[in-house]
Each structure stands twice: as C-alpha cells, then as structure tokens.
Amino acid sequence: MKPSLGAVAAAVIGSQTMTTNHLLADDTADTINGLKQHIEQLDQKVRILERNRELEKETADTKPKDAPKISIGEKGFSFGSADGNFAINLKGVLQFDSRTFFRDGGSKGNDGFLLRRARPIISGTVFHDFDFLFVPDFGGTSGTVIQDAYLNYRYKRELQFQFGKFKSPLGLELLQSDPDTSFNERALPTDLVPNRDLGAELHGDLFDGCVSYAAGIFNGLGDARNSSNADFEDDKEFAGRLFFQPLMKSNLSALKGFGFGVGGSYGDSSTVNELPATTGGATPGYTTDGQQQFFSYRNTVVASGKHWRVSPQGSYYYGPFGLLGEYVISAQRVQTNSLNTAALKNAAWQITGSWVLTGEDASYKGVVPAHPFDPSAGHWGAVQVVARYARLDIDRDAFPLFADPTASARSASAWSVGLNWYLNRNVLVKTSFSRTTFSGGGGAGTTAPAIITRQPENVLFTRVQLAF
C-alpha cells in the first residue's frame, strides 16, 4: 500500500517539526549554558574586582602604621617614628609657691611668691636603645641652670649605662621626682646627700624590677650641692644604691608596695666646694623645711680627705596609705686654715606618712585622681593628707673649731603637716605647715644661720603645680 500524499506530507512536516523542535531545544540549552558561563565569568570578574579593592583597602589601612606616631595627652607630647626607634617627648614642670613665715624674729625678705621650678623637659630615644634627657630650669633663685642632661644606653632593662648630669644614686626622697614629693620641700636628710652630679653610672632593674641597682663614678659634691657643668678637682666620688621590692610580683597585695635598700658614697675631696655652702643667705647648705640655712661651716674650713655617706631607706605603699623613711650619715674629714683637722659625722632621718582621703592609691610616683576635677559632674579630684617628722644632728666635734656655735644650730627637728589636692594628673595644689626647732645657734649675728636659728621656724607653704 502506497502511502497517500497527505500522509507523506504529514510525515515530512511532522519529522521536520520534531527536528526543528530538537534543534530549538539544543539551541536553548546551549544558550542557557553560554549564559551560565557568561554569568560565571562576570561573577568571577566582580569577585576579583571586589577582592582586589579589599586588598587595596587593607594595604591603605596598614599604611598609617608606617607613619610617624604623634601623641598628645596628660603625659606630655610625644612624636615617634613608626618603628619606635626614634622618639622625642616634650614635658614640663611649673611650680609657683607662696611662703609665709610666722614669728620669724625680724628676718626680712623671706615671705613672698616664688617661681620654684620652671622646667621644660625634653627626652627621647635615638636608634632604639639610646635615651636622652635634657632639663633646663628657669625657676628658683640661681638663674638658668641645667638640671639634667644625660644619655642612657639601654642594653637591656637589667644593664644600662648613663653618662652626663643626673641625680647621684643615694637619697630616697631626693631620687623621687620633684613633682611627686609629699611636701613642697624635701626633708632634712636630703641636706646630707649630693644632688645632681656629673658622672657615669651603670644601673638596671633585675628580676622584673624586684631589685634595682645603680653604681657610678662622679665628680663628687658637698652635701646638698648641685653640680655646675665642670669640675676643677682630680678626686672623684663613687656612689651606689641597691633597692629591693621583693614582693612586688607576689600575690600578697598588702606587701607588694614594700621596698627597702641602702645607698652610699665614698670619695676623697679637698676643696671648699666639697662642703655644704659656707656662707649664709639663699645659697644652698643645710637648710630647713623653709629653705633657710641653719648650719654652715666657718669660712676658713675646707674639705680635707675622705667623705663617705650611707643611707638605709625604705618605703611602703598599700592602697591609700604611704610611708617613706630614710636615715643618712655623712662623714667627712675637714680642715681649718690653721691645719686643725677632724672627721665629722652628721646624721639625719625622716619619716613621712600619707593617706589619700578620696581612696586612690598612694605611690612613690604620686597620686592619680580617679575622677579629675570637674565640678559640673560632681568630681573634685583626689585629696591626700601628709605628715612628716625629721631631724638632723651635727657632729659635736664641729663646734667650736669648724662651725660657730653661736650662729649654727647643733641640731634641727622639724614636723610638718599638709594637704595635697590633686585636681587631675597634671595640676596639684599643696599646702603645708612646718615647724622647725633648733638647739644651739641663735647668737647675735644678723645673717643666716644665726638669724634663722634664733627662734623656731614656722612656715606656711602653698604651691600650685603644673606637671605633664
């Protein structure tokens, strides 16, 4: 049977339709696959662009780490390289005092305002391990002086070398930073230790700071003297100090702040500059809490041989309570112009207690108020009460050959009480009253020390301090 034309036509049309449909289906699948691939490629491109932008942002974010670091805050102003190898810090201390003496027997010119310290402080680091400090002082009564100027090489915390002008490692209160002392002026034992001297020192902290040591060679200074920028004597002085805070890393919180140690010096000296100042007036020497001279050697006396000092010392801080004590012996051979000699041993001690009424922690480095002064927020800073007793005894053999018993005191005893108001970390107001009594001295002279030792000294001190 032959197929009809219609059937053939229908078959042909049918098969063509099927083929077309199949082809159409293949085309659609290819198109979809192509589109899929295209979308995937686009998706990859978008992802790549986003990731590259993300990486660029990461790179940009890390760039500031390479930029110099600038810091301005309560600890001063500092600029440093990103790697920490170079830095410079700008700080300062300004102390404006008022001193008022009561019943001072006619002493003139000792009441008034005083710019006690006006010190820009420049410190920094070069090449990571070399630190420096430069402190000129435009305050006080001696004109502009360089207080500190030294270079310190930090090989590591345990081993450091310091060269230049800085505090001799001896007196505990003297080594306390000027803005951090409990009272406006340091106590009588500071009369027997050297202040800043020129020299070289090896120092460091061992066992995470549990032990501190310092040992150095210096030009050598008379008691309470500050070095000039040169020395015209061959003899040198050795000074050193060892201080322990054995429990500072322990869990015994009540004993963490306990420290004790000993400082000492040994030298040979033969000039008048190796004695405390021999003239009266405002020059340093053995001075009272009111900074008035109560003892001087006769102006015919010079240092003439061995000079040694020893100072056991300790401090204790626990919560708001603080205690600091030290004892100093300064023994020195002296000689008159008539060649009379003697080895004189002067001694002094002090004990200072403090309590922060507002509850902050007391410390050797001062008090940081929990809430800085801001009356609108009801914050008033921190308030601390302080009390101190100190005594200094001159060797009996100093009189009458080496010191005038009618002018200089044989001993001085002083008690002081005070109130310190820490407005914030930088601003402090200190008020204190000190009374110093003397034995000996008080003769008919019209200058210090006679005019000072004639009656007890009563002085009201007030200080406004900016330190940053």
Binding site: Q44, R47, I48, R51, L55, K156, C210
Partner: protein, 339 residues
Amino acid sequence: MTKRNSNKRPITFTAALALSLVCSFARDINLLNVSYDPTREFYQDFNAAFSKYWKEKTGDAITIRQSHGGSGKQARAVIDGLAADVVTLALAYDIDAIAEKAKLLPPDWQRRLPSNSSPCTSTILFLVRKGNPKGIKDWDDLIKPGVAVITPNPKTSGGARWNYLAAYGYELKRAGGDEARAKEFVRKLFKNVPVLDSGARSATTTFIQRGIGDVLIAWENEAIMAIKELGQGQFDLVAPSISILAEPPVTVVDKVARKRGTEEAAKAYLEYLYSETGQDIVARHYYRPRLESVMQKYAGQFTQLKLFTIDEVFGGWQKAQKAHFNEGGVFDQISQANR
C-alpha cells in the same frame, strides 16, 4: 592550747613570708614569636603546650604572643624594630635578611638547631574546586587559558616564593634546564593569577571564602586544613607530579632575647618543637614532622610525591632570591611582560 597556737603564728607567718619571697622570684616571661601566615593555629596549640611544660619545669609563667603575616613582610618588620624573641618564618632567606641587615643574630644561625633549624617540612600542592571542573592534574594545567590561579605575591610572601620556585623547577626539569622556557612558563602562570595576595592565608581566603579562581597553589598543611576544616566536601586536593621540599626554619633573635632577658626561654621554646610533643602538634597541623616515629603515626595524611630541594635546583636561597625575587629579577621581568 591558745598559747601554743599563738607561738606558732610568728613561725607560720615567717615561713609564709619566706616562701612568698622565694615565689616572688618566679618570673613572668613574655615571648614574641614573629611567624608567617598559615601557622596561626599551629602555634596557638604549641604555645599552650610549651607554657604548661615551662611552668612545670621552671615555675615561671610564660606568655607567648604571636604575630603573623607574609614571611618577607614579617622579616622586614623585625629588621625595622619589631622586638621578636624568636622568628619562625617560611624560608631561610628571610631570616638571613634579618641577620644581614639588622645584625640581630649570627649569620650561621641555621646550624644551631637540628635539620637546618627546620623542625618540620612541607610541600606545595593544589587545591581545586569539588570535582576538579577544570581537570587540573599537574603544573602545566595551570598555564592553560581560562584557568584562574590563586597564589600570593612572592615579593611579600614566603609561601608564594615556594609556589613560584616549585613551578619554575617543574618546567626547568621538564625542559632539560632551559631557563628561557622555565621563565616563559612562570610568566604564563602568573598571567592567570587575577589576585595577588600579600600572604598565604590571605590567598586561602581569596580562594575559599571569596570563591575566586579554579586552583589555589598552597602549602600542604594549608590545603589539607582547608579541606578538613574550612570547606568540607567543597574542595579536592591535587598532588602534582613533582613539587618542592619546603623547610620553614626557626631561630632565636639573639640581640632582642638577650636584651629582654628571654634567651633561655626562647631557646627552650624552639627546642621543644623537636620534642615528641612538639612534633606531634606539628603533625596534627598537617606539617610533616622530622621525628620518624611521629611521621609513621601520621603517614596516612600526607601524599607521597616526588620532591626536589631548593639547593639542588636553584643552588640555595641566596641565589634563588637574587635571580628571581630581587629588584629586576625574573619575577619583576615577567610581571612587566604581563602588564
């Protein structure tokens, strides 16, 4: 009774005080380990183990801080003053640079610990997407058009330099030492790299989390970790016919450790990497341990493949660095050609 007790009190107090005095000399030690990118998790585990060991041995509490980044970048940070007690970097050249430029350790530092101061080894493998859609089997598949390869920047990443040298060494061997062919091979390979991350971990992020590329050239440990922990069932590991033996080295940074008083602890820290415990942690993090007993224990997790060393193909790191990665080297030349 009461009296006896009160007599004992001062003795007890004195004993407690004496004990606390002794105890107070137990030190708190801080170490900084400056390492390369993919070692974060490994050193977290290892540090915990070492701290415990050191406390038991000496009584000292030790805290180990970690810093991670591209190996070259990390070396530069140490040269610029980052106070690392130890460096654990991706390749010896980066530590050589610290010795040479910053003089923080002696030039022969690599002789101080066993196995050239490399407590473990690793190699370079491929990580591909599940089912390996681009059919990547060996290095020459990476230069095919349309294959997107993820590898970090050899200028900043130690891992990337291993990757580059593995590829270069493959072609050099195949071409019978023809440097021009090897150079052209890596040029084509880097032509296929759409993103140049600064470190190996960053490149892993690009491939796994950002979903970019068809293949990641990776440290073996990073690749295994990615499969097991980051993208279970999403990736396959491909071992090429040949790869490079990577020996990431470690050393104490003498001057820093001496200054910080951490020499003893830093030395012990690195030596502990060679101990059985240290080697076990090494293997658990998919690095190949040096200790045979530990290697046997973990042998199943490592692919067996032919490895060449940098010394035999490139004459050591110094030569390889100079020829390929320094200013104007082969990598700079191919980057310029690909622009």
